[in-house]
């Protein structure tokens, strides 16, 4: 019962919040408040890890390759209020739950194969 009680306190995810999977290429729109100004910052990359399952502290890590082949990773809380929306651009076929091997790769070898099936 205690678990049910705790789960009931989980923040609701947006209805339009997609189910993420490792290997997905996503655009994360995050609201950033600077003083009084609020703007949206977009972070686009590959989901390389989902941690924490369905717990309140669950996170996902997005990796992108910035200028000069520098890898940038950001970890977002799954239930973060500052994330406005997440768009899934691509699903990839991956065989690992955590794609940390992408860290050692760049260029051609860092590509992921797209999933080929029609989503219903």
């Amino acid at each position: 019962m205690s678990n049910a009680l705790m789960n009931s306190l989980l923040p609701e995810t947006n209805a339009n919040f997609p189910q993420l999977k490792p290997g997905d290429t996503v655009r994360v729109h995050q609201r950033i408040t600077e003083g009084r100004n609020e703007r949206i910052q977009v972070f686009q990359g590959v989901v390389i890890a989902m941690r924490g399952g369905k717990s309140a502290g669950a996170t996902y890590t997005v990796r992108r390759t910035a200028a000069h082949g520098i890898g940038v990773e950001r970890t977002f809380p799954l239930y973060s209020k500052t994330v406005d929306k997440v768009e899934v651009l691509r699903n990839a076929k991956v065989r690992q739950a955590q794609l940390y091997y992408l860290r050692e790769r760049s260029g051609k070898s860092a590509r992921l194969k797209e999933k080929r099936f029609i989503k219903s």
Partner: protein, 213 residues
Amino acid sequence: MRGILGKKVGMTQLFDDSGEVIPVTVIEAGPCTVTQVKTTDSDGYNAIQIGFEETAERKLTKGQRGHLAKAGAANLRRLRELRYEDAPAFSAGDVIKADIFEEGDFVDVTGISKGKGFAGTVKRHGFAGGPKTHGQSDRHRAPGSAGAGTTPGHTFPGMRGPGQMGNKRVTVQNVKVALVDAERNLLAIRGAVPGARGSLVLIREAVKKPKQA
């Protein structure tokens, strides 16, 4: 003093409006029934006795059942007394719910801490222990010296040493109430609270209220 009994459910986290994570302890608080009212006239001081957690009739003694029946309360397992200046305003049988607190209130939470058994000084008092290398034997977690020699000839009282750790009444003061859900009798309190999950906690208005900024 406002107060309520509850059962620790566990810890989780919430997000505040700015999106920051607040670690919270969830407590199933109340509903508590006032089982006895003590006033200056009747007992020399003002207090209320509150009961929490229903139990089977056979688990209570006849005396306890009689006491609860007098207040018209259910078979409650836990009774605690709270000093309460406004005690005459209550009558036996009144129900106290989690909504006596609101978000942002500062409270003190009392519980029985988790027992660690007979613990050494390293665990119990944070002593550094001895060196791990350079030919040490049996000195790794030793407490070190307990004082001088022939003068004074004894160990000073209050010297920290090994002993029972935990399983002791502990109060955390000035913790903020992060969430109140009176319907489901839930309180979320910022930070950690003494005790194991499922153990009884007493939540009271903070004695040392922090200055309002």
